[in-house]
Amino acid sequence: MNLEMIAAGSLETKPEALLNEMRQLRDNPVFGFDRLIDLTAVDRGETFELVYRLNSLLHDRDLLVRAKVSLEQPTIASVSEIWESALFGEREVHDMFGIVFEGHPELEPLLAPEEGFGFFPLRKSYTLPGRSGQTDGGNGR
């Protein structure tokens, strides 16, 4: 792992290596990132960029971990076994982006209804429909 990048607070990792690196980040006392503060994704057009925001209570340090997955096959390993907060975060990202987290114990819709939205709202390919009764539909306003 790139120590300078960790010191600078930002780390980019490959989806395949994610689980291993994350485990090291938590378990290695040098890093000691014991909290996953936040987990989200950004639709970058060609790829989904997953953003993991780690925090170490021990060293009082933050780290941003990014991992890119493809739009066509958005699959990545779940970090929920490392940090329990990912249980909720990953379910939300799954609802909103359709990214599949392998190894998540119950990747059920969380904010979406039981059967899901039927679309993935936060993907850029999805545009908000205009308000009913208004003529300026399209830009979501």
């Binding site: 503060i37 989200t40 950004v42 953003v51 940090w83 907060s85 909720f88 969380l110 904010l111």
Partner: protein, 376 residues
């Protein structure tokens, strides 16, 4: 979500489990939270939170609004601490644009955020009392919270959805009348707290209901991503106002109350103690309130540079963070909100296991969820 239950299962004592649906329409779920409880008699074996009944897609809405236009939407996240949400969002955008906020505005922001914290905690105390069956306590805290809302009304013209904090400053200056009323409120606050103490906190039944209930080790809460008073009650004095002082919080003297046992009682007590600490901060801010403008010189059309920023505030419920990805246009490319309630609710299962049904109401009360925020 489809709730998969294992209620074919039996417990070690041989009794059959059953499932109880608490919410989304239930007197003590603080809005539209649903908790599916798996019960062995009166004891909770598993609790599954079901969210999303108030999901409005605020993150997607943000992508079609300009940066200032999104401020009113932050009001509607955690609608009992709108000022804190406004503040967190505006500071995030300011961080992205590197705007220097005038001194007076900074002080006013601190006053408002801390007042809102007091208002939120007052609501919490009342709601907890109500959830434990003591309705009168709620009336008293709401009566006193009203005074804060009146202050906000005076400053911003609104009692709940303030949109008061703006990018680069605040909406408008506070009047001398506001300062006077605020001083009067601060003077009365110890009396109010004494009354809560006599009626609610000091009541032995109330204490017995909360003490030694749902103790979860701090490490588990850390792993669950719990922040705010619930985490502090477990003994981790993690407060962003102290750890990563945003705005001008590094100028004030205040304590971060932290618990030792981490039971419901301490989770409750954290809020009570935080009220006095917030009052201390407000008093100091009033003392140091400088003259000057309340709005920075910012362009009419806000176009932050291309970039990515994350900024977190300590909201009354925990770490409230905004993650903004800017593509250089007037609208955010992606806006993500790290909602404290959302992650705190993830700990319901951990907190509820082994407690009685009655304590589920207590656990929900001390988590102080605001469903507008959890579901965004």
């Amino acid at each position: 979500m489809t709730v998969k239950l294992t209620h074919e299962g039996v417990t070690a004592s041989g009794s059959e489990l059953y499932c109880l649906n608490m919410g989304p329409q239930h007197p003590s779920t603080h809005g539209v939270l649903r908790v599916v409880l798996e019960l062995d008699g009166e004891t909770v074996v598993r609790a599954i939170p079901v969210l999303g009944y108030l999901h409005r897609g605020i993150e997607k809405l943000a992508e079609s609004r300009t940066y200032p236009q999104f401020i009113p939407f932050t009001d509607r996240l955690d609608y009992v601490s709108s000022m804190c949400n406004n503040l967190a969002y505006c500071q995030t955008v300011e961080k992205l644009m590197t705007v220097e906020v005038p001194e007076r505005a900074e002080y006013i922001r601190v006053i408002m955020a801390e007042l809102n914290r007091i208002a939120s905690h007052m609501l919490f105390i009342g709601a907890t009392a109500l959830d434990l069956g003591g309705m009168t306590g709620m009336m008293y805290t709401f009566r006193d919270r009203e005074r804060i809302l009146d202050l906000f009304n005076l400053a911003s013209g609104s009692r709940l959805t303030y949109s008061y904090v703006r990018i680069g400053g605040v909406m408008n200056d506070i009047s001398p009348e506001f300062v006077n009323l605020l001083r009067a409120f601060l003077a009365d606050l110890p009396g109010m707290l004494q009354e809560y103490d006599d009626l609610i906190n000091g009541n032995e039944i109330f204490q017995a209901r909360l003490r030694d209930v749902s103790i979860v080790p701090a490490s588990r809460l850390v792993s669950l991503g719990v922040t705010g008073p619930v985490l502090r009650a477990a003994g981790i004095a993690y407060d962003l106002r102290r750890k990563k002082p945003y705005g001008i919080y590094d100028r004030f003297q205040f304590d971060i109350p932290a618990g030792t046992v981490g039971d419901n009682w301490e989770r409750y007590l954290m809020r009570v103690l935080e009220i006095s600490e917030s009052a201390k901060i407000i008093a100091q801010a009033l003392e140091g309130l400088p003259e000057g403008p309340v709005m920075a010189k910012i362009p009419k059309v806000i176009k932050p540079p291309v970039g990515e920023v994350y900024h977190a505030n300590e909201s009354p419920r925990g770490e409230l963070g905004f993650h903004i990805v800017s593509d250089g246009s007037t609208k955010p490319y992606r806006l993500h909100i790290r909602r404290p309630t959302f992650y705190n609710l993830g700990s319901i299962d951990a907190l509820c296991r082994g407690v009685k049904i009655a304590d589920v109401a207590a656990v929900l009360a001390v988590l102080d969820p605001c469903m507008g925020e959890a579901d965004a």
